[in-house]
Assembly symmetry: C2
């Protein structure tokens, strides 16, 4: 059996346009983003958010699909472009490109929708995560523990940054990321919808494993070095910290967030 996908030629102009999506301003303008690899493709196909706009594969990848079409279960409306290895390397941000890049529509989530989830699902608020690797890992861990709604502040790194997408390991497609949410919106949301505001602080909070369970939570994480704004840390109903041995300054932000999500998942009896 041969594939019935028709591979379109990729023009230089088109290639150049896709490459621009590595820059935030073009992603914003086009409301698109780039993801790489077959795992991202499968994740994008499986979930309703961020639908695929087009796919680019290199000759080797196209040959594999021609030999084994089941690799690539694809709706015929999505155009697939074929390019050279050199062009793929210019499109990819990976050291060893996997031969497939997908361009996806950015779905926008509105904060009003966040009150409609399950009562026991905590919301996660990243006030100002600056490192793309950290935001990607927080998205990945949230997805692992089944917490699928993350709100991020206006000064957070762009969640559609290529490094965020990569370190999210495909989970960006299953998690609702609400962008540019100012801390005042978080406070207003907590007041209006009865969320308990929980501030993750490096030290001095209630030890995580002793923290009392509550029903509806917004767990708030701050900047890698500056932490949470004083405004949020003071307004929080509860401050929690991961206990440590005291000789080390801090944990990595994405590690700390993941440990907290694990403890919440266990305490909520999720497993």
């Amino acid at each position: 059996m041969r594939s019935n996908i028709s591979f379109l030629p990729l023009s230089r102009q088109h290639c150049k346009w896709i490459r621009k999506l590595h820059q935030k301003k073009y992603r914003r303008k086009e409301k698109l983003f780039i993801a790489e690899g077959l795992n991202s493709f499968h994740a994008a196909v499986k979930t309703p958010h961020h639908t695929i706009s087009e796919i680019i594969v290199d000759h080797d990848f196209a040959d594999k699909v021609r030999d084994n079409p089941s690799l690539f279960p694809l709706s015929p409306e999505i155009p697939v472009y074929e390019c050279s290895r050199d062009e793929m390397e210019s499109l990819s941000s990976e050291e060893t490109p996997q031969g497939i890049v997908i361009v996806c529509h950015q779905k926008e989530f509105l904060v009003n929708e966040t009150t409609t989830g399950k009562m026991s699902d905590p919301l996660i608020y990243c006030e100002e995560t600056s490192d793309p690797g950290n935001l990607g890992i927080i998205i990945r861990s949230s997805a692992w523990f089944g917490f699928n709604r993350i709100l991020i502040g206006p000064f957070c790194v762009d969640p559609f940054n290529t490094k965020v997408i990569r370190s999210s390991a495909g989970t960006i497609f299953g998690v609702e990321v609400y962008q540019s949410i100012h801390r005042d919106v978080i406070i207003e949301l907590a007041d209006r919808a009865g969320y308990t505001l929980i501030a993750a602080v490096p030290a001095g909070g209630i030890p995580l494993h002793q923290c009392e369970k509550s029903e509806k939570n917004i767990i708030m994480f701050g900047h890698e070095s500056k932490g949470l704004s004083r405004h949020l840390a003071e307004r929080a109903d509860r401050r929690i910290s991961i206990p440590g041995c005291g000789t080390v300054e801090s944990l990595n932000l994405s590690v700390a967030a993941s440990i907290i999500l694990y403890e919440f998942a266990v305490q909520l009896g999720r497993f």
Copy 2:
């Protein structure tokens, strides 16, 4: 008060020699490594492992020290070299160099010593961590939870790799990293010294929060994508997994390791 540190000039030859320490073969040959930033300097001064061989600062940093010598409490035996901003940029692996690089002696740890620790301290074994960021974060989290002995396999990334040092956030200086430990040595150590071998596996193990406590443990982590070797996974006394919601393939390795170390620290009543 003016500093009494004498800043030596840095020759081109010397600068070139230091730059070579970014390569593993030269680190191995010289038994030295590079760390960057004032935090690394303070960490190196505070702990007995990996003593400082020499320090290089740029003109700006040297001026700051001349104005405020307390920044830089230093034994007079350690030579301090002063260089230009351009030279510092050639020595540094950071996008924004902090103006100080330290060259340290690699202390070698021998596995026989690992049996002398506290009974309740688990040993950590990284069979084949390939990503330097992951190994650095595992070292940082181990230090946070007070587990100060990590054994790594012969195919692990070099723990003195500049990226490992950076993501360890200075904690490399307080943690004993035992290198090139083959899995057979781990099994032999467990048999001889009565350790329980615990294999961290992505799925199918005992849920972490339900895992029975034991006294002396070696917690074993595998490769980022291949996991633990079958040999170790089958020989383990217990296999543990972090429960998840099932829709995501895996957690990041350093995140998974950190969550497991957190749970062990809590269960051992460390806090």
